[in-house]
Symmetry: C2
Subunit: 461 residues, 2 copies
C-alpha cells in the first residue's frame, strides 16, 4: 500500500511542545481541593513541603495557569527519547477489516518501557535543582520505578523504590533493571517501615498494593535527611507532565487535518489517560469538538465503573492528604492481576471530576479478553504491548468492530502506553491457559468502601 | 543545549531505501565462491534449493547486481517499524568530555529488540510467496528467533526454533516471547534430530552452540514437507537485507553533510556490521573516502583477530556448503559468554575478504570491560543496550577518549544493534560481580582449528 498518511508520524524537535498544558485552567467546574486529613481544610504548599519538592507542589496546586513552560533542562531530557511516534494501525485495520481509521501514540520506545519517564525526568530534575540528594517512591508494574531509576541515574540522585511484592515476584528482571541504573529496590510490604510492619502484622502473606507501597515510601522520605518523595501517577502535577503525550499527538494529527472521534486510554491512576486526552478535552470543554473519551480499567480494580466519588486517602496507612476522586477505598487490596500498573484504588481527581460531569466514559475489562486483544494486536502490528496498555487495545478493537457493523469511518486514537518486555510471566500464563479472570463481588468491594473516611464532604455531595 | 543537528534523526517514509545494496558488486576482488562440500566445486542454486527459498539463493549467489529492489510487500513490512532513529550521542559526548561527535544507528526499537527483523521479514515473505508452510531456524541470543517468530506471525507460517541451550536457560522470557508469537522453541542440542543426538552422545552436558543448532534446524527443514530453513546471519543475502541500516544512516548523515571518520559495529556472523558499513565501504572501495571500519568481537570468540581465513563448514555437523571466511573452526565451542549473538565460529565471507584485503580493522574485547561501557552508556543515553551491541559501545568510547587526548573532532558512527531487555541475567551477574572474563588459550583454539577441513583450497591460498 502507498499511504498518504505515513505509518509512523514523528515530529521534528522544533515541533515538540515547549510547555505542559494544565487542563484545570479550562474547566469551569474544577476538581475539589485536596484536604488536609486533620483539619479538613484545603492543603497549603507548606503542608506538602515536607514530602514533595517545591516545584511540583506549585504545579499541583495551580488551577489557573493554562500553559506551564517546560524548563530547558527538561526539554533536554525529553530530547533523549522523544518525540514518541504516532502510529497509524494500518495492519490492525486490515486484520479487523474495519472502515475505522486507528491511530496509537506509542510511549514504549524508551528503556523504562512506558510513558512514566515523562514525569520521572521532571521530578528528578526538580529534586536536583532544589538541593535534595535522594528520593523515595513506590512502583507497581515496575515501569515507574524503572523510569525514576533512569532519571536518578541521569541526575545522580540516590533512589529507594518500594515495589509491590506481587510485582517484584512476577518481574524479577524489572528489579534487576532498576538496580542496573543504581536504585535500591525493596519488596513491599517490608519490615523496615512502620506502615509495612503494620500491614504484615495484619496479614503476613500480603502481596502488597500500590497504596501500601506509597505509605512506606512517604514514611522513609519524611524520616530521611535531604530526601523527598515522588509519585508516578494520580496527582495533577504528574498528569501535567504527561500532557506531552497529548500535545505531541495533537500536533501530529493536526498536520494531517485529522480529528479523532474517539480517544481511548487505560486508566490506573489516570496520568497516561489524562496526558493523552488533555488537549483534546480542552476542545470538548469549549464546545468545539464532540470527541468521545473512554477510560478502560481492569474489572479487578474498577474505580471508575464501580467506585465511589468521595474524599479518600491515597495510601493504605491513611497518611496522605484527602483527594476527592473515584475510589474503591484505600483499604481495597486488588487481586494479583497481571496489569500491575492498574492496581490502584483511586483515580486522578481531574479525570474523576470530568467523569462525574459526563465528559468521559469508562468501561471495565476482564484479563483474558484483554490478552486476546494484545495477541491479536502484536501479531499484526509487531509491538508487544504491556498488559496495562492492552486494556486500551481491547476497547479500540471493540470500537473498530462496531464501525465495521455500522459502516462508519470513525477516527480512533488510543494510547499505547508501554511495552510488555517484563510481563512475559503473564504472557506465559496466557499461552498456557493458566490465567484467570477475576471480578470482585459486591462483598469484596464493601471491605474497600468501608475504609473510605466518614467526613462531612463525603456525605454532603 | 540547542542543537543544530537533532538528537534523533528520523527519515520520512519517502526517504526510506527502495533497494538493498549489494556490496560485492563494487568489489574488484570478490569473496571466494561457496563450495559444495563433496565436489569442492562452486555451489549452484540447485544445490541449495532443498534447504533455502529460491529468492534468497538468487540473492546469495548474485555478485554483480548493485541495487536489488525491495519488493512492495517487504517495504510494507519495513514501514511497520522503520525507519530506525540515527541518534547523536550528545549526552555521552558530554559525559566523556570528548571533542568527537558520536552518532549511533539504533535498531532496537522493534519488539524483536534488534536489527534481525530486517532480514526475518524478507525471509518470511519469500517463504510465503514460494508456497512453503513452515520454516526452521536456530537462535543464539534469541533475537533472531524472536524476529522470525514475528515474521512468521505476520505471514502466518509455522516456525520451529532451535535455541542454543545456554541461551534458553539464561533467557527463559525470550523463549516465552517467541511462543507468544506462535513459534515452537526447542533447546539445542536436542534429542529429536540425528545431529543433536550425536552431539549429546559426545558431550551429554553440552550447552550448545550456534553451529550445532544450525545442524539441527537444517536437518529438520530437509526432512519436512513444504518446509525451508532460514538463517539470520553469516550469509550474504542476510547482510544484503541488513543494508537498510547503512542506507538509512547514510541518507540521514548526508542530509546534514556529515561524513563519518570511523564506523564501528559488533561482529558475530557479521550481518549487522556489514549492513551498517556497506554503503560507506562503497566509497572507500572507489577511493572517495578514507573512513576507518572497526569490527568488535568478544575475546571469547575471536574469529577476526585470532581465527584463520579458510574454507570451513557453517555448522558443527559439517553438513553445510563450505564458505571461505575467518573462522575458529566449526568444532570450536565458545564459552558461555553472555553475548549469545556473538558466539559463532565463523564470519560473513564478504567481510572476511575485506578484512584480509585491509579495508577493515578488528579488535576483541573482554566481557567485563564491555559491560562497564554499557553501564556508562545507559546512564547518560538512557537506552539499555544488548551485550552484543555493547561491544561497539566499548570501541566507540575508546575512540572518543582517544580524540580527547589528541583533541581531534572526529565523527564516530556506531551500530547499536539491539536492546538488553532479555539480558538481565547478565546485567545482574555484572552488578553482583559474579561475571567473569574468558579468553581462550592457544590450546583451546587448536581444538577448533583442527576441525577446519583439510582441502586443497585451504592449503594453496
Amino acid at each position: 500500500m502507498t499511504n498518504k498518511i505515513p505509518t509512523r508520524i514523528y515530529l521534528s524537535e522544533d515541533e515538540m511542545p515547549k510547555f505542559w498544558y494544565n487542563l484545570r485552567a479550562d474547566m469551569k467546574d474544577k476538581p475539589d481541593p485536596i484536604l488536609h486529613p486533620k483539619t479538613l481544610k484545603p492543603v497549603t504548599s507548606e503542608d506538602l513541603a515536607g514530602v514533595f519538592c517545591k516545584s511540583v507542589i506549585e504545579q499541583e496546586l495551580d488551577e489557573s495557569t493554562r500553559e506551564i513552560p517546560i524548563p530547558a533542562d527538561i526539554l533536554d531530557f525529553y530530547r533523549a527519547y522523544r518525540p514518541s511516534p504516532l502510529i497509524r494501525a494500518y495492519y490492525l485495520e486490515r486484520a479487523l477489516d474495519t472502515p475505522a481509521h486507528i491511530y496509537y501514540k506509542f510511549e514504549g520506545t524508551n528503556t523504562s518501557g512506558s510513558h512514566k519517564l515523562n514525569s520521572a525526568g521532571p521530578q528528578g530534575y526538580y529534586a536536583k535543582a532544589e538541593g535534595f540528594t535522594s528520593l523515595t517512591t513506590e512502583t507497581g508494574a515496575g515501569q515507574w520505578g524503572t523510569a525514576m531509576a533512569m532519571a536518578c541515574g541521569f541526575y545522580d540522585l540516590k533512589l529507594t523504590v518500594y515495589m509491590v511484592k506481587v510485582s517484584a515476584e512476577q518481574k524479577p528482571y524489572r528489579k534487576a533493571l532498576m538496580e542496573a541504573y543504581g536504585a535500591n529496590v525493596i519488596p513491599s510490604p517490608s519490615d523496615i517501615t512502620e506502615s509495612g510492619r503494620k500491614i504484615l502484622s495484619d496479614d503476613p502473606l500480603s502481596t502488597g498494593s500500590l497504596g501500601c507501597a506509597i505509605s512506606e515510601a512517604i514514611e522513609t522520605a519524611v524520616k530521611t535527611d535531604k530526601c523527598r518523595y515522588v509519585l508516578g501517577s494520580v496527582l495533577n502535577h504528574v498528569m501535567l507532565h504527561q500532557t506531552v503525550i497529548g500535545l505531541e499527538a495533537k500536533t501530529a494529527l493536526d498536520k494531517y487535518g485529522i480529528k479523532p472521534d474517539i480517544i481511548i486510554g487505560c486508566a490506573g491512576g489516570g496520568s497516561n489517560l489524562g496526558g493523552l486526552i488533555a488537549p483534546f478535552m480542552r476542545e470538548k470543554l469549549n464546545g468545539s469538538s464532540k470527541t468521545r473519551f473512554i477510560a478502560v480499567e481492569p474489572a479487578s480494580c474498577p474505580s471508575f465503573t464501580r467506585g465511589r466519588y468521595a474524599y479518600d486517602f491515597g495510601d493504605t496507612a491513611k497518611t496522605t492528604p484527602l483527594i476527592r476522586m473515584n475510589t474503591l477505598g484505600s483499604g481495597y487490596i486488588p487481586s494479583a492481576n497481571h496489569a500491575g500498573g492498574l492496581r490502584y484504588h483511586g483515580m486522578n481527581s481531574t479525570l474523576s471530576k470530568l467523569y462525574q460531569d459526563g465528559y468521559m466514559e469508562a468501561r471495565a475489562e476482564t484479563q483474558i479478553g484483554v490478552f486476546d486483544a494484545a495477541i491479536k494486536f502484536m501479531k499484526v502490528e509487531g509491538i508487544l504491548p504491556a498488559p496495562e496498555s492492552s486494556h486500551a487495545i481491547k476497547a479500540a478493537i471493540d470500537e473498530a468492530l462496531e464501525c465495521k457493523k455500522t459502516g462508519e469511518k470513525k477516527v480512533i486514537l488510543f494510547g499505547l502506553s508501554g511495552t510488555g518486555f517484563f510481563d512475559m510471566t503473564a504472557y506465559t500464563a496466557y499461552n498456557e491457559k493458566t490465567m484467570s479472570d477475576y471480578t470482585p463481588s459486591d462483598t469484596d468491594l464493601k471491605r474497600g468502601f468501608d475504609s473510605i473516611p466518614d467526613i462531612p464532604q463525603n456525605v454532603c455531595r
